[in-house]
């Protein structure tokens, strides 16, 4: 791994990333299991009552201010937790040699995911 400008930049932003990473590390397993269970397992298997995830109800839920704030916090923080874990997993198992491009790619995808989430929320309000 080079100690060039990319490494210096990554070292400089490390303290800024650490706080949101720990928050994502905490919130992801708090909320994700129940959402996966209900939306991705119970609904497809027909375990939910009729209309529980109808378009009207889902739209009303997704435009609730508390839910909007929750989604805008949870999804980017989960993406960061995933990216940060993967970055250090790759350093540990493969090598730190390519940490610069790996970290920039993973953090870039995290930023992109956060922007797409914000746009997705805006589309729900203005559809």
């Amino acid at each position: 791994m080079s100690h060039g400008p990319v490494k210096k930049f990554l070292n400089a932003i490390e303290p800024l990333i650490w706080g949101p990473f720990v928050t994502g590390n905490f919130l992801t397993p708090l909320f994700f299991p129940a959402i996966i269970l209900m939306l991705c397992i119970a609904a497809p298997l027909g375990w939910l009552p009729e209309g529980a995830l109808s378009y009207e109800r889902a739209h009303a839920l997704a435009t609730n201010p508390i839910v909007v704030v929750g989604i805008l916090a949870l999804i980017p923080l989960a993406l960061l937790a995933g990216s940060h874990h993967l970055r250090f997993g790759i350093i540990d198992v493969a090598s730190a040699e390519h940490d610069g491009p790996v970290a920039l790619t993973l953090y870039g995808l995290w930023q992109l995911g956060a922007v797409v989430t914000a746009i997705a929320i805006l589309r729900i309000f203005f559809d």
Binding site: M1, H3, N25, F26, T28, P29, L30, F31, F32, P33, A34, I35, I36, L37, M38, L39, C40, I41, A42, A43, P44, L45, L48, P49, G51, A52, L53, Y55, R57, A58, H59, L61, A62, I71, I75, A78, L79, A81, G82, S83, H85, L86, F88, G89, I91, D92, V93, A94, S95, A96, E97, G113, V116, T117, A120, I121, L122, R123, I124, D127
Partner: protein, 148 residues
């Protein structure tokens, strides 16, 4: 096979004039010990977190597109491969959470939280389990159509 270790590994505390070879480590250092395997599995849980989050973003996007797209998204989730993936994803993220809350959280608490002394360490596991149960119940009730 040896692979380059993190360049800061084995770095002397003070700068020295002696040049040393770049640190190397065994490529399979993590395979012999269950603790190391769990550590690496914990790091690579990030793959499931990423994929699962992408599914949620796709759902939000479909919701913003309209009723037909939302129903198509729900229909896609019924595919057996999706269901198998989500069962696996649920298992991985529950394991990830159990490790975060019950193995790592207690070990990473500072002696003081702000100006206040830290609560006794035995308080954390039941408090975290209670918070997890509360949130899970709330999400189940909301997405299950029971509340509000």
């Amino acid at each position: 096979m040896a692979i380059p270790a993190h360049p800061d590994a084995m770095k002397p505390r003070a700068r020295t004039r002696t040049h040393v070879a770049a640190p190397m480590m065994a490529g399979n250092w993590w395979t012999p010990s269950p603790r190391y395997r769990a550590y690496v599995a914990y790091a690579f849980s990030g793959v499931f977190i990423w994929l699962q989050t992408l599914v949620f973003i796709r759902g939000l996007w479909a919701l913003g597109t309209g009723e037909v797209a939302w129903n198509a998204f729900l229909e896609d989730l019924c595919h057996p491969l999706y269901v198998v993936f989500h069962v696996l994803s649920l298992a991985v993220i529950v394991w990830y959470g159990a490790r975060t809350y019950f193995k790592l959280f207690v070990k990473t608490q500072p002696p003081k939280i702000g100006p206040m002394p830290r609560p006794p360490l035995w308080v954390f596991p039941p408090a975290l389990a209670g918070a997890w149960l509360f949130v899970t119940l709330a999400v189940v009730l909301v997405l299950g159509g029971v509340w509000p």
